[in-house]
Amino acid sequence: QGGGGDTIKIGWFGPLTGPTSTDGIHSRDAAQLAIDQVNKQGGVKGKKLELVAEDDQGKPEEALKAVQKLINNDRVVALIDGAYSGPSKTVAPKVQKAKIPMVAAYVVHPDVTKGGDYVNRVIYTGPVQGKAMADYAVNDLKKKNIAVLYVDIDYGKSIYGAFKEEVQKLGSKIAIDRPFNMGDKNFSSLLTAVKAKNPDALYVVGYYNEASAIVKQAKETGLNVQFLGVDGFDSPKYLELGQQNTEGSTFTTSFYGSDPREVVQQFVKEWKAKHQSEPDMLSSQSYDAAKVIIEALKKTGPDSKALAKAINETKDLEGTSGKITFGPDHEVIKPVIFMTVHDGKFQFVKSKIYK
């Protein structure tokens, strides 16, 4: 195993090229930041850590090869999964078989952790967010007739599925629901259809890219309703592309930069110094994933079985996205955070733990 020399290698994979490469690059940089921090403090048990990052181009088979390389050529002791669902789902059973612990950073598909005790995840699954927003929309905002646009991938479908169930349970209605594709820019037809249903809120389950286009065009169509969203909104790009139209939109996420906790402020400061930008939710998740592995390594060392056990036993770890504890299903238990756009900035609304 990779503990042999005087460095310990940790693998990372995710999209470094292709349309989703920004997410991959942020994720990798965040993991790197966590590792640099430990190394500055002298490493783990006298050994330096090293991050080996591989591109999966957003494709399952590339992820598989990348992970095989990380395990067999680089002999990493653990993996950070900085990828989307397809690659993550492909890789999960293979790392389980190879018995190399993996921590998923931001992928929300429920199946990723189903394989066994070598795969954990530091973000809650899609349905948790859906349930949380349903609770907020119906109970806090008293919305009765909610329109939904969701991105047509498992991310959108799984969050929306839980949202719909919960909204109906709580006695409100879904006015209309329509899928859209990643990369879509023109929403005029969808929004015309939405407007015809006279909803009192519009829940957009997707990433900032399309979400910003939707809020902008919704305002232009004259659809002036409460905007609700998900952690995909959580990027400065949402504000840049959506301009003043984003004002008032509220979304769930797992991280906010103005969180006064020490760990968050430290992270934000170092990130800013290095990248001249604000860290986003995805970076925070990836940082936390690295952190989970590092803390476990500190407790046990590079033996994979012990390491996996230590990861599973993580409890109340101060992460940038809240206190991290893993449940028996290898899923994280931590609060959902509600944020809103106010005066052109993200502002904290409240946080609450959902299961």
Binding site: T17, G18, P19, T20, S21, T22, D152, R178, P179, N181, G183, K185, N186, S188, S189, L190, T192, A193, A196, N209, S212, A213, K216, Q217, E220, T221, G222, K237, E240, L241, Q243
Partner: protein, 293 residues
């Protein structure tokens, strides 16, 4: 709602038309499927952005700047990737075009990252215009329709009444005979690429402005759909392209507005229509069949 959806469709159709007209003309002169046309659209949008951001141009100048840069880019693509291949199997130009598309897209990703960015602010704000109480359109979309119409009329006049325009038609019909009439074929091809690319750039810049977003891969889907439009109209026919673009825009808009739970999403619907029409009319709406045996 129907009227609004039709209007949405027409506005969308005009962006398709502006991209597709270039493809049609280029197919006409060189009988070549120009797979790098989508990146030219992107080049147009980015050039306009650079014009505003770094060269302090105003909106209109920046759009013209984008058109010129894209026009030059189009001419260069022809010069470097297509001209050396004249006379070889059509598939080689196809691959060469795809190569250029990959090259330019990746280059843009290296320079600008794959992140979308906003279209820089100018005095021009995107605002809705209310036509009736329930029907509205953003001013930017209205500009696309108006500018598109003007460009098409100019193009028609150019092809019909100028010497170069007639030469373009002549080269489309018989390249060698045209050169024997003293037409400088390479010059005609360059002009065609320039015009076609400039029109695509116009569409690219307007779309970026309307949606306040531009990114390196923005041209790939519009590029593919433009092919659909061109074939729908019967490759090489400009009126066909116009009808094809409108059909596509309207069908997409209506299908998105009214249909739910489809197994085929709206990006693929374009091609479903295409294939249905080709089954009925194998050479497209305005295409001329028949090879004389």
């Amino acid at each position: 709602m129907l009227a609004q959806q039709l209007l949405n469709g027409i506005a969308l159709g005009f962006t398709y038309i502006l991209i597709a007209v270039g493809l049609t003309m280029i197919y006409g002169v060189l009988k070549l499927l120009h797979f790098a046309h989508g990146v030219i659209y992107t080049v147009g949008a980015f050039s306009a952005m650079i014009g505003i951001l770094y060269l302090n141009m105003n909106f209109i100048v920046a759009i013209l700047f984008g058109m010129i840069i894209a026009g030059i880019a189009g001419v260069l693509v022809e010069r470097l990737a297509y001209r050396p291949l004249r006379g070889t199997h059509p598939i080689t130009t196809l691959i060469s075009g795809v190569g250029i598309a990959i090259f330019v897209e990746s280059l843009f990703q290296a320079i600008f990252t794959s992140d979308p960015r906003g279209f820089p602010a100018t005095g021009m704000k995107v605002e809705p215009i209310h036509i009736t109480s329930s029907i509205s359109l953003t001013n930017s979309k209205l500009y696309i329709i108006i500018v598109g119409l003007v460009c098409l009329l100019l193009l028609y006049a150019f092809l019909k009444w100028t010497k170069m325009g007639v030469a373009i038609q002549a080269v489309s019909q018989d390249m060698r005979a045209a050169s024997l009439m003293g037409v400088n074929v390479n010059q005609v091809v360059a002009v065609t690429f320039f015009i076609g690319s400039a029109l695509a750039a116009l569409a690219g810049a307007f779309v970026a402005y309307d949606f306040n977003s531009l990114f390196p891969t923005m041209g790939s889907i519009p590029g593919l759909k433009a092919f659909c439009v061109v074939v729908l109209g019967g490759l090489g026919s400009i009126p066909g392209t116009i009808i094809g673009g409108l059909i596509l825009g309207i069908v997409e808009s209506l299908s998105e507005g009214y249909l739910t739970g489809m197994v085929i999403d709206k990006d693929a619907i374009a091609f479903v229509i295409l294939i249905l029409i080709l089954l009925l009319k194998p050479s497209g709406l305005f295409g001329k069949q028949v090879e004389k045996v």
